[in-house]
C-alpha cells in the first residue's frame, strides 16, 4: 500500500506540475490551429462601421444602423480592423466608454455561436475602448437567472446575452435593473431596457441549401451521382429546425427533386458529441448524400470530419468553418453574432441604441449569409456561386419568401 500511496502523491504532483508548467507551455499553444477565440483569420473579420447616425432608428424597427463590409474579407483583416479603429472613435467623437458584461449560457470553444458573441465583445473592447467587466460561461441552467442578476449587480452598464433559452431569465431580471441596458441576441423579449437582435438563419440556410443542391449536381469530384443532400441537427428543436427548413427549401428551390436527409442527436450532450455527429453524417453519405449541412454545434464538427473522410462535402455553421477541412467544407452559414453585437455596442457607446426594439439581421444587412472566402472562391463551382447570388437576389427582392420553423 506504500506503493499506492506513493502513486497517489505522484498523481497529485504530476497534476500540479502540469498546471504549474503552464507559463512555459502556453506560448506554444497560441498557434493551435482550430482554437475558436482569437484563432486564425475568419473569426476576427472586422466590419467597419460607416457612420452611426443618431437618426436612423427613428422610424419603425427596420435596418439597424450599420453597414457592414462584405464578408469575404479574410486573411490579414485583423490589422485592417485595428486600422479602422481611429475611424470609429475619431469621426463621431461622441463615443463614451461603456462597461460591458457578457453572459454566455454555454461554454466558449464551440467554434460557432458563443465564440462569435465573444468576438463581438472583444472587438468592442479593442475598437471602442469598451471596458469588459465580466465574461461568464454558465452551462448550468439552474444558475442562469442568478448569474444574470449577479452580472447586473456589477458596474457593467451593458449586459450582453443571448438565446431563446435565456428569455425567461431576462424577463425576470431586466425589470429589476431599469438603469442597465441589455443586448439580447438570437431571440426577443419585450422589455423597455432590452435591445433584441434576431437573425434570419432560415434565409442564410436557404442559401446553404441552394449551394448544397447545386454542388451535389455539379462536376465536383467523388459525388455519389444521386441528387441527395443532408443536414445533421444537434437536437430536434424549433431553432435548429429553422435552419433545416430553410436549407430544405433552398435545396428544392435549386432542384425540386433534390432529396434532403435529416438526422438529429438527442440527450443532455446532444451538441457535444462529435463522434455521434460523424456517424449520423456517414449514414447520410452512405445513402447518397453529397453535401451535408452541420447544424449541431460541437457534434457538427464530426459532421465536417465525416465529409472530409469520405471525400465529400459539407457546409459549416455560425462561424466560418471553411478552413477546418479546406475544400471539403464548401462554405459556412454565418450567423454574424459578432458583428451584430458589436454594432449594438457601438450604438450604445455613441448614444444611438434604442432599447425596447428589435434589430433584425438577415441577408439584407449581411447578418447571415455564406462565408465566401478564398476557399469558397477556390472550391465552389462557378455555376453554384452564381446560383447562390441569384437566390440571394430573389430573397432580397421578396420573390422568394423563406419559411421558418419558429412560430
Amino acid at each position: 500500500m506504500t506503493r499506492e500511496f506513493a502513486l497517489f502523491l505522484l498523481i497529485v504532483s504530476m497534476l500540479l506540475a502540469a498546471c504549474g508548467q503552464d507559463a512555459a507551455t502556453t506560448p506554444s499553444t497560441g498557434d493551435v490551429a482550430p482554437v475558436g477565440t482569437g484563432g486564425p483569420g475568419p473569426t476576427t473579420v472586422p466590419i467597419t462601421p460607416q457612420e452611426t447616425q443618431a437618426g436612423t432608428g427613428g422610424g419603425t424597427a427596420e435596418v439597424p444602423a450599420s453597414e457592414t463590409e462584405t464578408m469575404p474579407g479574410t486573411g490579414a483583416t485583423g490589422t485592417a480592423g485595428a486600422g479602422a479603429l481611429p475611424d470609429a472613435t475619431g469621426t463621431t467623437g461622441a463615443t463614451r466608454q461603456i462597461k460591458v458584461a457578457l453572459m454566455l449560457n454555454g461554454t466558449l470553444g464551440d467554434k460557432g455561436f458563443f465564440d462569435s458573441a465573444k468576438a463581438g465583445v472583444d472587438r468592442a473592447e479593442k475598437e471602442l475602448g469598451a471596458e469588459v467587466v465580466q465574461v461568464v460561461e454558465e452551462p448550468d441552467r439552474s444558475n442562469w437567472e442568478p448569474t444574470l442578476r449577479q452580472l447586473a449587480d456589477t458596474e457593467a452598464d451593458v449586459i450582453v446575452l443571448g438565446t431563446f433559452d435565456m428569455s425567461d431569465a431576462l424577463n425576470a431580471v431586466a425589470p429589476e435593473y431599469e438603469d442597465k441596458t441589455f443586448i439580447f441576441f438570437d431571440a426577443t423579449v419585450d422589455q423597455p431596457n432590452v435591445a433584441n437582435i434576431v437573425y434570419s438563419q432560415n434565409e442564410g440556410s436557404f442559401l446553404a441549401g441552394v449551394l448544397a443542391s447545386c454542388a451535389s449536381q455539379s462536376d465536383l469530384e467523388n459525388l455519389s451521382g444521386e441528387n441527395v443532400v443532408g443536414a445533421v441537427g444537434g437536437s430536434n428543436i424549433p431553432v435548429i429546425n429553422d435552419f433545416i427548413v430553410g436549407y430544405e427549401q433552398g435545396a428544392k428551390y435549386f432542384n425540386k427533386d433534390t432529396k434532403v436527409l435529416k438526422s438529429y442527436n438527442s440527450g443532455p450532450q446532444a451538441f457535444e458529441d462529435p463522434a455521434k455527429g460523424k456517424e449520423l453524417a456517414l449514414a447520410q453519405f452512405d445513402q447518397g448524400a453529397n453535401v451535408v449541412f452541420n447544424v449541431a454545434g460541437k457534434t457538427g464538427l464530426g459532421v465536417l470530419e465525416a465529409a472530409a473522410d469520405e471525400g465529400r462535402y459539407s457546409i459549416g455553421v455560425d462561424q466560418n468553418q471553411n478552413n477546418l477541412h479546406p475544400g471539403s467544407v464548401l462554405s459556412s452559414m454565418l450567423k454574424r453574432v459578432d458583428n451584430s453585437v458589436f454594432d449594438l455596442l457601438q450604438m450604445e457607446a455613441t448614444g444611438g441604441l434604442e432599447t425596447g426594439k428589435t434589430y433584425p439581421y438577415g441577408i439584407q444587412n449581411e447578418g447571415v449569409g455564406l462565408a465566401q472566402d478564398e476557399l469558397y472562391e477556390q472550391h465552389v463551382p462557378q455555376e453554384c456561386k452564381d446560383q447562390v447570388e441569384q437566390a440571394k437576389a430573389d430573397i432580397l427582392s421578396k420573390q422568394v419568401v423563406v419559411e421558418t420553423a419558429l412560430k
Binding site: 500500500m1 499506492e4 500511496f5 502513486l7 497517489f8 498523481i11 504530476m14 497534476l15 502540469a18 498546471c19 503552464d22 507551455t25 502556453t26 499553444t29 497560441g30 493551435v32 490551429a33 482550430p34 482554437v35 475558436g36 477565440t37 482569437g38 461554454t107 466558449l108 470553444g109 464551440d110 467554434k111 465564440d115 460561461e137 443532408g230 430536434n236 436527409l261 435529416k262 438526422s263 438529429y264 442527436n265 438527442s266 440527450g267 450532450q269 457535444e272 458529441d273 462529435p274 463522434a275 455521434k276 460523424k278 456517424e279 449520423l280 456517414l282 449514414a283 447520410q284 452512405d286 445513402q287 460541437k298 464538427l301 464530426g302 470530419e305 477546418l324
Partner: protein, 315 residues
C-alpha cells in the same frame, strides 16, 4: 417495414462494429474489475480523461501512437486513484466512481483551457490509422464489414479473446475469479485480494482509456468537452448485461452497437427522430429481460471491504 429492412445490409454491420468499439473496450475493462468484485462506475471519467490526454499528447508529439499511450496512462492514473480510495481506503465504490467522473469532467476542461485556450474543441491533427485489408475489402459482405476498420476495432476484438484466455486459462485469471467469488477464501489461499483488485482496476483504466482514445483519435480526430456522452455508463450496462464474461460482454456491446447503428440509419427515413433514438436503449432492455431471468450478480456488488470486517460473531 420496408424502411426498416432497407437499412439492414452488410455495411450496417460494419457500422455496428465501429459504434460498438468504444463501448466494447471500456466494457472489457470493466469486466475485469467486476470479476474481481469491484463495481467500476468510473469508466465514464476514465474514458473522458483518456480522450482528452490522447488528443493532447498527439497534438504535442505529432504521433497518434504516443497519444494512445498518453491517453491510457492518464486513464490508468485515475484508475489508480479509484483503486487507492475504494480498495485501500475503503471508501464507497459508487461515491468514488462518481467523484472520479466529476474530476475528469472538470480536469479535462481546466487543462484544455490551460493548454489550448479553449473550453470547446480542439483537433490533435492526427488519428490512429485504419487497417485496410486489401483483398478482403473486395469480398462482398465481409469486405463491407471488416474491410476497413480502425486499428482499435481490431484491438477491441482481440482483447475479447485475450480477456477470455487470461481469465479462464491463466493463474492470474484464476485468482481474479476467486477474489470476486470469495475474497476471504482467496485471501487464505495466500492471494493478496486488494492487490489483485487493484491490478484489475488498472486494467480497466487501460482499456477504458483505449475506449476514450478511440473516440478522440480513432472515431474522429478531435476532442470536445464531455464527448464521451455517457458511453462509459453504456459500457457498464453492457458489462453487467454480459454477466462480466468476455464473450457475453462482447455480444452485449455489439448488440448495442447494432441497435445504435440501426437508429442512426433509420433517422434519415423520415421516422420521428426522438423515437428512433430510443431504439438502442429499449432494445437493450428488451434483450436483458429475455436473457437475464435467472442469473444474478448481486453478490458481486458489495464493496470489497465487506469481506474484511472482523467477524465477532464467529470468533
Amino acid at each position: 417495414m420496408d424502411e426498416i429492412f432497407g437499412v439492414i445490409n452488410a455495411g450496417l454491420f460494419g457500422v455496428s462494429l465501429r459504434l460498438a468499439t468504444p463501448i466494447l473496450l471500456a466494457a472489457i475493462g470493466g469486466l475485469w474489475t467486476q470479476q474481481a468484485g469491484v463495481l467500476n462506475i468510473a469508466l465514464e471519467g476514465m474514458m473522458l480523461s483518456a480522450a482528452f490526454s490522447g488528443a493532447a499528447v498527439t497534438y504535442a508529439t505529432g504521433s497518434a501512437w504516443a497519444g494512445l499511450l498518453g491517453g491510457m496512462l492518464a486513464s490508468m492514473l485515475l484508475a489508480a486513484v479509484f483503486g487507492l480510495f475504494s480498495i485501500r481506503l475503503k471508501a464507497d465504490l459508487v461515491v468514488v466512481g462518481i467523484a472520479i467522473n466529476l474530476f475528469a469532467a472538470g480536469a479535462t476542461l481546466v487543462l484544455m483551457e490551460r493548454f489550448f485556450n479553449t473550453k470547446g474543441n480542439f483537433s490533435p491533427g492526427r488519428r490512429l490509422p485504419n487497417i485496410t485489408l486489401g483483398p478482403v475489402r473486395d469480398i462482398p459482405i465481409v469486405g463491407d464489414i471488416i474491410g476497413q476498420q480502425n486499428v482499435l476495432v481490431w484491438v477491441g476484438l482481440a482483447l475479447v479473446v485475450i480477456a477470455h484466455v487470461v481469465l479462464y486459462r491463466t493463474p492470474f485469471g484464476l485468482r481474479v475469479r476467486s477474489v470476486g467469488e470469495n475474497p476471504e477464501a482467496a485471501e487464505t489461499a495466500g492471494i493478496r485480494v486488494g492487490r489483485v483488485q487493484f491490478i484489475t482496476v488498472l486494467i480497466s483504466g487501460a482499456l477504458a482509456g483505449m475506449g476514450g482514445v478511440n473516440l478522440s483519435l480513432g472515431y474522429v480526430s478531435q476532442f470536445s468537452t464531455n464527448m464521451t456522452s455517457g458511453r462509459g455508463f453504456i459500457a457498464l450496462a453492457a458489462q453487467t448485461f454480459g454477466n462480466a464474461t468476455p464473450i457475453g460482454t462482447a455480444l452485449a456491446s455489439l448488440f448495442f452497437g447494432f441497435a445504435d447503428a440501426l437508429a442512426v440509419r433509420l433517422q434519415t427515413r423520415e421516422l420521428p427522430s426522438d423515437f428512433v433514438l430510443m431504439i438502442p436503449y429499449l432494445a437493450t432492455i428488451l434483450a436483458l429481460v429475455l436473457v437475464a431471468r435467472r442469473r444474478s450478480l448481486r453478490a458481486r456488488r458489495q464493496s470489497p471491504s465487506e469481506s474484511e470486517k472482523p467477524e465477532a460473531a464467529t470468533v
